[in-house]
Symmetry: C2
Subunit: 196 residues, 2 copies
């Protein structure tokens, strides 16, 4: 395996681009080479195969879509109430909207995982890890609601992100005067998270 870390990172980002633009079936080493603007054959020196590339894309998107540590630290100086939960969900929505390509690539990975048991195993572990991290974070931060609240909030945000990134017109003015996505994030938190 070739070892230039910058080259590797740019190939992984090119893979994200190809996944979102072409779908999982379009993700070939040749397409990644083309998207990264490197000679044909380069990607095959950096990844043992397509599953390896998909795993590295997963790891990379974990970083690309992670909260900004300073922004998060700023938020966590606030009272541990429902308004803070809403602020954290706005932050999440802002990140996936700003990196729409990255999140669409994650959705392509989900569908690809239905076809590839090895990818399903590693990707399940990574998504489950994020969810259990979120549950622990919520508990330890003393935010309102228990594990059940966090799981239902996670599912509603997953649905909202999926809808908003793929078919945004479905939710437009579905509740009069409620803006998409910010107003809907507020309504989800108001319905799911106890006011305590």
């Amino acid at each position: 395996m070739a070892g230039n870390p910058e080259r590797r990172a740019s190939l992984v980002d090119a893979g994200v681009e190809v996944l979102a633009r072409e779908g999982a079936r379009g993700l070939t080493f040749r397409a990644v080479d083309a998207a990264a603007g490197v000679p044909v054959g380069t990607a095959s020196n950096y990844f043992t195969g397509r599953d390896d590339l998909l795993r590295q894309i997963d790891v990379r998107l974990h970083t690309r879509l992670a909260p900004d540590p300073d922004a998060l630290a700023g938020l966590m100086r606030r009272p541990r109430d429902r308004a803070l939960v809403a602020a954290l969900m706005h932050d999440l929505m802002g990140r996936v909207t700003a990196d729409r390509t990255g999140y669409l690539a994650l959705l392509e990975m989900r569908l690809e995982a239905t076809r590839r048991p090895e990818l399903r195993a590693s990707y399940t572990e990574s998504v489950r890890g994020e969810l259990t991290f979120g549950m622990r974070f919520h508990r330890e931060a003393g935010l309102p609601g228990g594990d059940e609240t966090v799981v239902v909030l996670y599912l509603a945000m997953l649905g909202l992100i999926l809808e908003h990134l793929t078919l945004p017109g479905v939710l437009d003015e579905i509740l009069p005067g409620v803006a998409v996505p910010a107003g809907l994030v507020e309504r989800v938190v108001a319905v799911v998270v106890p006011d305590a």
Copy 2:
């Protein structure tokens, strides 16, 4: 356009199969012909193009995934309380689990819609039509909760269905003793729908 309705229906179902198995990019007339077991060139006599095929797949899945009228009528003889909302959501989850291929094809269509404006317009209209139908149904049936309840319930069920059909292991025992998906459907309804 050729007009044999049974042949057309079997080609559309073959298209659903190809979408779920190969992803949107694998959906070619040739692949549909092969999946339907008909001579190469048959699909091109039935559809004006790929967008036409995708629209007909959308219409077909609307029917395939619709509730059974007798089952629905039976449910609607019950009191209009939160337990009935849960029963309706169990019915929905049962349908998408029984026709997993059909629902995975709808998810592929969502991602394909991000790339094809014409498909996005027609698919947005069909998904929005289902959501507004659900809101009206809920209201007219006198079920507990208002439009906001229905929208948040829709989003949480969308997230739950996406997770369960693509990465079922993520939710397995995420809440101790809560079975996936039935127990999670119960918890979603309990959190989102008022007990009235």
